[in-house]
């Protein structure tokens, strides 16, 4: 590569990286915790769930309870276990029966516990895991601005990845073995930025592309809809197979009651090892009621092995089906893979832990890039005014990003001390606490102080998370494990390890400073 190209790529890498750095850090930090979204939610509720996405529901019992509260006649009812929590998502569409009582005309999105059959609304079920998950695509900023901001950050992150890769292309192999942490500060930042950046490259590439797809796919969808589908996006989604077949409402009552459990069992027996993950009932209680059972075979068997069986309720006849063992089409494969590789939910806790570590390493790459930017500009030739400006920028960046660690740990404690914590409480505690920390660090105006004390506060608070949980609920992590509350145990131990690592870094820094 000639000098001109190298310098241009280098410059665009710097500018794009610095511009997105803070938001990208927030996305990756919160996103790393989001791998454990379901565990955190269960931990907060002091319960555990079977760690899969399979429905463990007595449908007939559930429907009976829902019917008494919401009146199901003429509705479409959908069950899905979207998260590894006790709560099953239940969607009730408004009824199509014109004679149905008024309350059947209101649609509901509910969370029903598969053990107690108690239903909650979205707001009632809101917990810290959901908060951190949504923070990682900035959903707390009013829609659609937060989504678009995060989406474009992902897009420019892809740009920074590619330019960074090209800049370092020639030095990848040689530099990978060069790590000179003791040489001087600049080489520490350079080497770690390059080496850690290279390790995380495939991971980051996947997350940048899929992240952009989730949040700003409208930029791809809109032109296609206008060109091929006359402006009707439903036609596009229909062709891509996103819209399920609708069975018309007959308007006549179902003569004899049917058992949804029986249909689910029938579908389950149809294919070996088939797990039921979604059940949809169209036209509940109508003569044209249909039951759609969807699911998959284990991922170890086939990565894209989803199946579907559609039954007509009156006759029990199999109307349509998709065999999970049959060859998956390219279309269905891509649709599934785009999600699975982002969520990292196809290989148990091991993959989630690796993804979490890679996510935090990405945070480190972002920060080392910012430090590199500062240190590289700390030269005699640089005017003092500019130097001070750069330093100010870095101080603000570090105050915002580093304080995420302590405030996250503190919020874990807060939701245990105040068990009624719902959406409002988590919002105010997290965001106000974060703001206070940032302001305090900016007043102190010293970034090595910010760094050290974020590690210290986060570390102490992190170690207190399992202690507070033990005192408040009695489920100390060893008791939780013996009681089978694996998700509670997991989050407690997770914090002990994370906090210990943070404190280790703190004492290392502290000792080094004492020596100097």
């Amino acid at each position: 590569m000639d000098n001109r190209k190298y310098n241009i790529l280098f410059h665009t890498h710097t500018v794009s990286g610095i511009t997105i750095s803070v938001i990208l850090y927030v996305i990756f930090f919160a996103g790393s915790f989001a791998f454990f979204r379901d565990d955190i939610n269960s931990w907060q509720r002091n319960e555990t769930a079977i760690p899969d996405k399979v429905l463990h529901l007595d449908y007939d019992k559930s429907l009976k309870i829902l019917d008494s509260t919401y009146v199901l006649k003429g509705r479409h009812v959908w069950f899905g276990r979207l998260h590894a929590e006790r709560q099953t998502v239940v969607n009730l569409e408004a009824t199509m029966d014109s004679l149905a009582p008024k309350k059947a005309r209101i649609s509901h999105y509910l969370f029903q516990d598969y053990k107690t059959y108690k239903s909650e609304t979205y707001e009632e079920s809101y917990a810290l895991g959901e908060f951190l998950y949504r923070l990682h695509f900035l959903a707390q900023i009013p829609y659609p601005y937060g989504y678009y901001l995060a989406g474009f950050t992902a897009l420019f992150f892809l740009f920074a990845i590619i330019t960074g890769f090209l800049v370092h292309w020639k030095k990848i192999v040689s530099n990978f073995y060069v790590f000179r942490p003791k040489e001087k500060l600049k080489t520490l930042w350079t080497d770690s930025h390059t080496a850690v950046g290279m390790i995380g490259l495939p991971f980051q590439f996947v997350y940048a592309v899929t992240g952009a797809f989730f949040l700003i796919n409208i930029l791809l969808v809109a032109p296609a809809v206008l060109t091929f589908y006359g402006g009707d996006e439903n036609k596009l989604y229909n062709e891509l197979g996103y819209i399920p077949t609708e069975y018309p409402y007959a308007g006549k009552d179902l003569q004899k009651p049917v058992s949804i459990n029986a249909f689910a069992e029938m579908a389950k027996k149809r294919w070996k090892d088939f797990d039921v993950m979604e059940v949809e009932i169209q036209n509940y209680g109508d003569a044209n009621m249909h039951v759609i059972v969807e699911g998959a075979i284990p991922k170890s068997e086939k990565f894209n092995g989803f199946g579907k069986a559609v039954y007509k309720a009156t006759t029990g006849e199999l109307v349509a089906q998709q065999n999970p063992y049959a060859q998956t089409s390219y279309l269905d494969g891509v649709k599934n893979v785009l999600y699975r590789i982002h969520y990292g939910d196809y290989a148990g806790y091991a993959l989630k832990i690796i993804s979490f570590i890679l996510g935090l390493l990405t945070c480190f790459v972002i920060l080392s890039g910012v430090m590199l930017w500062l240190v590289a500009r700390d030269k005699k030739s640089m005017p003092d005014k500019k130097k001070r400006f750069n330093e100010r920028v870095v101080k603000i960046y570090l105050a915002i990003t580093l304080s995420m660690y302590p405030i996250t740990a503190l919020t874990f404690i807060a939701v245990k001390i105040y068990p009624q914590a719902a959406m409002d409480f988590i919002y105010s505690f997290y965001f106000i606490g974060w703001l206070l920390l940032v302001v305090a660090f900016l007043i102190k105006n010293d970034y090595s102080f910010t760094n050290k004390y974020c590690l210290l506060i986060g570390g102490i608070a992190g170690l207190l998370v399992p202690v507070v949980n033990g005192i408040v609920t009695g489920n100390w992590f060893w008791i939780a494990l013996s009681r089978g509350l694996f998700q509670v145990f997991f989050i407690d131990v997770f914090w002990i390890v994370l906090a210990a690592a943070g404190l280790f870094a703190f004492f290392h820094l502290y000792k080094k400073e004492r020596i100097q």
């Binding site: 000098n3 001109r4 190209k5 310098n7 241009i8 790529l9 280098f10 410059h11 665009t12 710097t14 897009l155 892809l158 740009f159 590619i162 330019t163 090209l166 600049k186 592309v209 899929t210 952009a212 797809f213 796919n217 930029l219 791809l220 032109p223 296609a224 060109t227 091929f228 596009l236 062709e239 891509l240 197979g241 390219y330 279309l331 891509v334 649709k335 785009l338 590289a376 500009r377």
Partner: protein, 97 residues
């Protein structure tokens, strides 16, 4: 270590032309290219491929744009390419409908 400024665009308009060509021009080319493919080949498959390749092509072109000598020339090239792909889309729809 900051990039050597002698290789960078110093003044506003050339810089503006390059940045807009990188972000907007590359988007036009990437989208029209994928739509042209979709109008001639298996449409659902091409569209679902665009879900990832659309962004990748867009960003790769962004990088290429910054390497170009002149921002205006690359804008011209991108507009011509977009026009060409639009022609293919039109022909594809005419031919395959």
């Amino acid at each position: 270590m900051p990039a050597n400024p002698k290789y960078l665009n110093p003044s506003f308009w050339p810089r503006f032309a390059k940045i807009t060509a990188a972000i907007i021009g590359s988007y036009f080319v990437s989208i029209s290219f994928h739509l042209a493919l979709a109008s001639w080949f298996n449409r659902p498959n091409v569209i679902i491929t665009t879900a990832y390749s659309g962004f990748i092509v867009w960003v790769v072109l962004m990088v290429v744009t910054f390497l170009a000598k002149s921002g205006l020339k690359i804008w011209g090239l991108y507009l011509l390419l977009t026009l060409f792909f639009s022609g293919l889309i039109y022909a594809g729809q005419y031919h395959n409908s």
